[in-house]
Symmetry: C2
Amino acid sequence: MDRIPILKFGHFLLVTIQVDMYDRLALNLENDLVNAVSKHEARGVLIDISAVSIVDSFMGRIIGNIATMSRIMDAETVVVGMQPAVAITLVELGLPLAGVHTALNVEKGMALLQEKIGLNAHSDAARAEEDDDDQPE
Amino acid sequence: MDRIPILKFGHFLLVTIQVDMYDRLALNLENDLVNAVSKHEARGVLIDISAVSIVDSFMGRIIGNIATMSRIMDAETVVVGMQPAVAITLVELGLPLAGVHTALNVEKGMALLQEKIGLNAHSDAARAEEDDDDQPE
């Protein structure tokens, strides 16, 4: 298998990582995800790693890369379902996944994404309103 | 990997099959899914097979089994993302997946499930209403 399927849910993309991320698979995933964000105008990316029990610095870096790429494309990334052992390993490896949002499971991750997008939309609207207030009447 | 993760979305469960279904994995999936339907009181099961490019009679039977088990537990099963080659192979193998609903992608599958559950709820309500009408006034 050379590709991990990317599922579309409304404004979000969902990826379930079930296998070890060897180099080619990871590079394909990065590439496919960025293209999918662009194609579907996605606002959020959910990465489920509940099936991942072993993590290394390569996989940590890949997740960080995906989050950074998505942010540049105006999409938030939430990593869900992390096993405790994986969290321990990531911190011990010195990879605290800075800038990556996390949630306990897919439902909570989806809620977090909706909140983030809602908040952004709200703050944009609030900012626009404030700008209006600044205008001379 | 001995388990395929089962993701919960509201009343639905989502399973993405990305690897070859050898015996043990398939039996674990059947078992886990039936338990998850019971535990989460799920009304629908979505099985995404967009990453499956090769299918055999074993996998065809497993999908049929899951659908039958789910139906007994009052949950509908929708298989989504089937590749054309897989559909051809299934029919040539004499496994037309009778009783399994299918949809082109996850979004359409989710809509189909919602419609099915809505319809059932509606027909239950309609039946209840008709029953009411039968009552002497």
